[in-house]
């Protein structure tokens, strides 16, 4: 194993374009041939929680396995299958009751490219081998004509800026991007070998480069049984039988994939996460759920090889019945309920436990106002309080790991934004009753789209307006370049000239800059911000019965709930303010200006002009006079995070001297230096980490 980064680079160069294919073939063979896993609970815990061992020599390992993976999401499941295919025994620990992480509630629009078999299939006008796809390719062969070199150039393009004038690719770590570009195609192939079906390519997902179309959707076909081998799912499991219910299989209802696949197909993260989980279980990967990865155990505190992990019990119970929740599939699960255990990793540990968007203390280093704990990360209900809690970052720093790309948390258009889903805390996704996570959030939320904002006023925790409501939820659009269309991608990406200085000239930025900073006004200090935290507090959409009648909004369960403290109805504005203060968990101060704000607003409507925020410029204004009155919470979502542990092209974690921490790998949101949103980063990292950890000499 290389001892330092220089060696690692050399090794990487030597293996360039060579070993990935060999690994794949070897992996496939190993998957078939693998026998029983040497995974054995060695003994009962030798010490209780809190009795931290003095050093690794004192540790009595509770389990021993070749590869331990922290987190069963897009990076973790991929790494697990890959390492298992290569003959390793693999144990995945995950803090939640079910697998898939946030991949499970994602859209599954997976941007890869380079040497991508789906690009080649679509470019040739071919269909999938199973014959599920019945629609022709969505984009031209020219837009699918990709290469590893072009992908590498794209994801290191210094010149691209978005409509907030941020540079998504400029600060990416170059060696990491080369490895990603080389492994993107093989990762696609690998996922397909593990029961994932991909639709037509329809564009390129954020951070995946601009020059070509690279992202298809994962899909399943509706059928009379749910069978990952056959690629079918029942309507019930897909969550599409009842418009206001979903299933325990699919936290977010699957969507019709008519345009991307054809009739009878459904798509979203379920079609990606469930096939991978099924394959992992089938191949003998073992899982320990309710098991939170806490610490990395290294030979010396900040030196030597990584030996294993310490992990704690984080059970989740049904809030109504009190019963312990269960994962959808059980095969391969290890039921371990001791408070703290130690797991030895003979070959290595892979940190795939996500980022830190759910940890207000950590994320506050990028945006101090976002230490406000009222605002959670997306998937809060699904993942629970330990989701995205910075565990990899915290544990990595403790053993001397370096960080990378931390400033990139501020350079992605929608890392944080105001959600158009009102009246629920977990506002990023719509989860309906039928999935266990619903009971933790209690409401689905009321989606008001972009046009709904003109129907209400938004007030801060003291009841004062703070921004033009119709612009509050605007997000900066994606990357813009002079030669291409004004918004979005990829349909004429061929027009785009990579690494051209005109892409970010001052003249061009002045012309295309388009961001209103409503989120920043929402997080601003106000009369209710008290020391020492000066939190901005919750924000509220206020409207009246006339709005409810005019819009036809579904102001009822499951969209809003009388029980969760995120939506209120009252006969008078005074009573409304009193209810919010009494029952919202983060309403720390009375909304003492609310009545006055409503009077002032009604005066603006009567005058036809909003001198404070120019609402009259953007749409009609409506009085708030007719009882009853409504308040729905407006939520700022910190969706994902980009900075993280620094790794080399083999996904080995590096220390502050640039040296490899032997036996420690990381991928996905745990890793920094790559400003790629979503799944494309995680799956490739998992594939690479699984490849190398399985061969790590112990």
């Amino acid at each position: 194993m290389p001892k330092n980064r220089k060696d690692a680079d050399k090794k990487h160069v030597q293996e360039d374009g060579l070993n990935r294919r060999d690994f794949f073939k070897a992996g496939a063979a190993a998957g078939v041939a693998a026998g029983a896993i040497a995974l054995s609970p060695t003994q009962a815990a030798a010490f209780g929680p809190g009795d931290a061992p003095r050093g690794p020599g004192d540790i009595e390992w509770d389990y021993e396995v070749d590869v331990v993976i922290a987190g069963g999401g897009c990076a973790g499941l991929t790494a697990a299958i890959r390492a298992r295919d290569l003959g390793a025994s693999v144990l995945v620990v995950d803090q939640n009751f079910d697998l898939g992480g946030r991949m499970l509630h994602s859209g599954a629009w997976l941007s890869l490219g380079g040497d991508d078999p789906i690009q080649k299939r679509d470019a040739a006008g071919l269909f999938d081998d199973e014959g599920f796809i019945t629609v022709p390719p969505s984009v031209s062969p020219e837009e699918l004509d990709d290469s590893v070199d072009l992908l590498f150039k794209d994801v290191t393009d210094w010149s691209i800026v978005d409509t907030k004038a941020q540079s998504p690719y400029r600060y990416n770590q170059r060696d990491l991007m080369r490895a990603w570009a080389e492994n993107a195609g093989p990762t696609r192939q690998f996922l397909m070998e593990n029961y994932v079906r991909f639709s037509r390519i329809t564009g390129t997902h954020g951070g995946g480069g601009l020059s070509r179309a690279r992202a298809p959707w994962a899909f399943l076909m509706l059928g009379d049984r749910t069978d990952m081998r056959a690629g079918t799912i029942t309507e019930e499991d897909a969550g599409i039988v009842d418009s206001e219910r979903t299933s325990a299989f699919a936290p977010v209802k699957m969507g019709r994939a008519n345009n991307n696949v054809g009739p009878g197909a459904v798509q979203n993260g379920v079609a990606l996460a469930r096939p991978l989980e099924f394959s992992a279980r089938e191949k003998g990967v073992q899982f320990m759920l309710f098991r939170h990865f806490d610490e990395i155990i290294r030979e010396e505190p900040t030196a030597g090889r990584v030996l294993g992990i310490k992990a704690s019990y984080t059970p989740r119970h049904d809030p109504e019945s009190g019963e312990l929740l269960r994962s959808w599939w059980q095969n391969g699960n290890i039921d371990e309920r001791r408070e703290t255990i130690h797991i030895k990793a003979r070959r290595g540990v892979v940190l795939a436990s996500g980022g830190f968007a759910g940890n207000p203390e950590v994320r506050s280093m990028f945006y101090p106002a976002f230490r406000e704990p009222a605002f959670v990360t997306s998937g809060y209900g699904l993942q629970g309080p330990h989701g995205q809690d910075a565990s990899a970052l915290i544990a990595g720093m403790k053993v001397g790991a370096n960080l990378a790309g931390m400033q990139q948390n501020l350079s992605y258009p929608t890392t944080f934004h105001i959600s158009g889903r009102l009246g629920t805390r977990d506002a990023y996704t719509a989860v309906y009753p039928g999935h266990p996570a619903f009971k933790f959030r209690k409401s689905t939320g009321l989606g008001i789209g972009g046009s709904g904002w003109e129907e209400l006023i938004a007030v801060n925790q003291v009841g004062k307006r703070f921004f033009n409501e119709t612009r509050l939820a605007d997000r900066p659009a994606g990357n813009n370049w002079p030669a291409g269309p004004n918004r979005g991608q990829p349909r004429s990406n061929l027009d785009h000239v990579p690494t051209d200085w005109r892409n970010c000239s001052a003249e061009w930025v002045r012309q295309m800059y388009n961001y209103d900073h409503g989120l920043d006004a929402a997080l601003a200090m106000n009369e209710g911000s008290q020391p020492p935290d000066y939190h901005s507090g919750p924000i509220w959409a206020i409207f009246d019965q006339a709005t409810a009648d005019r819009t036809g909004w579904n102001l009822r369960f499951p969209f809003i709930s009388d029980e969760d403290g995120y939506s209120f109805r009252a006969d008078t504005i005074q009573e409304l303010a009193g209810k919010i203060f009494a029952r919202h968990p983060f309403q720390r101060v009375p909304l003492r200006y609310l009545s006055q704000t409503i009077d002032t607003w009604n005066g603006y409507v009567e005058a036809g002009e909003d001198p404070e925020f120019d609402r009259h410029v953007d749409g009609p204004m409506h009085t708030i006079l007719e009882p009853p009155f409504y308040a729905l919470s407006i939520v700022a979502v910190w969706h994902d995070s980009y900075g993280g542990l620094r790794v080399n092209p083999q996904q080995q974690v590096l220390d502050v001297k640039g040296e490899v921490i032997r036996g420690l790998y990381a991928g996905g949101e745990a890793v920094g230096g790559f400003n790629k949103h979503g799944l494309g980063k995680g799956h490739v990292h998992g594939y690479v980490a699984g490849t190398y950890v399985a061969r790590d000499p112990n």
Partner: protein, 320 residues
């Protein structure tokens, strides 16, 4: 909203004393028998951690009504929100907040206390006015709705009130009905028919509801509302609103030619009678993006507005 925080400087005794106990009353106007929320901050000069101290609230008769733990947040020593119940009869009451003697790791503190003044009133009468036409032609009869609600949440069925015009003259008397308005818990209402002034102008009128001595007694209530009295219109403006993609009419769109406004019917048509002039027309539908144009009105005029549907943003639009 809220009463002044009560604060008192305390004498030092032989043990260390607290400098002050400040009790903030978080509830606005306090009604008889209502829930009152308090929050206390205690301090002792330099910023010291006084965790472990307890705050005791005693009522005007010296009865203990609540206790709360004091916690230090790195800045101040505060209690969580404390809930007490106001006395059942109106008046000004002096309660006390006391921190009994306590010890921290380093210091001993003597007992200290501070007064809390509660002003307790009979129930409030909230008055609401809605469904006021945005414009009313001079001298015409118009309708609006008046509602009443007791801060007790109890019935106010049959209570009487009056509408007072801009000159202070009573122009209508009314009593609210026996039924609560649908969707409300305790809002009683009446629909009134009124006559607009003869002169074009903007007026402020009021609804007055006198105090009531019936059990339980209530304070008086009032609500101001505005009337915009406009000249007789010259022309009829017809706006047809359609979806830009499929050309289908959109029902329920708002059309504003300030101060005139209307909603589109099943055929996507809104009609507004306006004086001639130049208007900025804003058109918006519930699931369509608002659009604006300038319209010159010199006679009956028709115009068509094609609105863009508010599609869910695509992944490419969000993440591109």
């Amino acid at each position: 909203m809220g009463q002044e925080a009560n604060e008192i400087e305390l004498q030092e005794d032989d043990r260390r004393g607290l400098d002050s106990i400040a009790v903030e009353i978080l509830t606005g106007d306090i009604d008889v028998g209502s829930e009152v929320w308090l929050k206390a901050t205690i301090s002792c000069g330099e910023s010291r951690d006084l965790s472990g101290a307890t705050l005791v609230i005693k009522d005007h008769e010296g009865r203990e009504v609540a206790t709360a733990e004091v916690a230090y947040d790195g800045y101040a020593n505060r209690t969580e929100r404390i809930t007490v119940t106001a006395p059942a009869t109106p008046g000004i009451y002096e309660w006390t907040a006391t921190v009994p003697a306590f010890e921290t790791d380093t210091d001993e503190y003597g007992e200290t206390s501070a007064p809390i003044q509660l002003e307790v009133n009979v129930f409030k009468t909230h008055v609401l006015v809605w469904d006021i036409p945005p414009t009313i032609v001079t001298g015409e009869t118009f309708r609006l709705k008046v509602g009443m609600r007791s801060s007790s949440g109890g019935s106010v069925a049959g209570r009487a009130g009056a509408v007072i015009d801009h000159n202070g003259n009573e122009v209508a008397a009314f009593a609210v009905g026996d039924e609560t308005r649908p969707g409300t818990d305790a809002l009683y209402f009446a629909e009134l028919s009124l006559q607009a002034p003869a002169e074009t102008d903007q007026y402020q009128w009021r609804v007055m509801v006198p105090a009531s001595d019936d059990e339980p007694p209530h304070r008086e209530g009032t609500a101001a509302f505005k009337l915009r009295v406009v000249p007789r219109p010259d022309s009829l403006v017809t706006i047809e609103v359609v979806d830009r993609e499929n050309e289908t009419p959109i029902k329920g769109c708002t059309v504003v030619m300030h101060p005139y406004r209307a909603q589109t019917d099943e055929n996507g048509v809104a009609q507004l009678r306006v004086p001639n002039g130049t208007y900025s027309v804003v058109v918006s539908g519930k699931k369509h993006i608002a659009a604006r144009r300038t319209l010159e009105v010199n006679g009956d005029t028709s115009s068509r507005a094609a609105l863009d549907f508010d599609h869910e943003p695509t992944e490419a639009a969000i993440w591109g």
